[in-house]
Symmetry: C2
Subunit: 128 residues, 2 copies
Amino acid sequence: MPRSTSRRRSALAHPEVGEIDLLDVMHALSDPTRMTIVRTLAAEPERACGTFPVDVAPSTLSHHFKVLRESGLIRQREEANRRLTALRSADLEARFPGLLATVLAAYERTAYERTASERTASERTASE
Amino acid sequence: MPRSTSRRRSALAHPEVGEIDLLDVMHALSDPTRMTIVRTLAAEPERACGTFPVDVAPSTLSHHFKVLRESGLIRQREEANRRLTALRSADLEARFPGLLATVLAAYERTAYERTASERTASERTASE
């Protein structure tokens, strides 16, 4: 069978809603860079790949997108020369009701504490 | 300060409630054996280590308990010659409200589907 002419697009595998596996989702959400990507997407519908507030090498970022995509958390599509990424919020909600919102709320608590302790540390340094 | 005389007990490190990290919890819950341990403990308060319905080597099981303990999901204590394990439900609820219940409910959906598809497959085999 001849391969698709749109080779690049066919390489982007996305699980169907009913195939989304909880353990894959948990694994995808166990990394700080991937959590930052998901939090960023929760705040806006679609975003180009190079515009996320993460500080990792392009190959590492590409790996993180792959893990997120194959877990079913994000959907990616090509448009002109850009790859656009969106959170599959509705699919996740249909598959595992309340999960994403609960996890994101839990992470916000941690993020707030982290920011607060970093601020305290930098104030301490500044006053020394 | 002198070290505790109960060296073995002091080797079982448990994070304080306020130290429980969400990413560690997500990682701990991304494995099927660890998920089975947590689901088993959700149904009963405390259990001896060798009595979990999992089929893995003792050294592997020991590793899984360590990951769960260090993430803050379980508490282990020695009593006579047994090590008893309990889920830190109240601590988890205080730290990340609703998280454990939501994740376990999500996993039950998956577990049900898996059982149903295994049953269908075995019925198909039986009728052949």
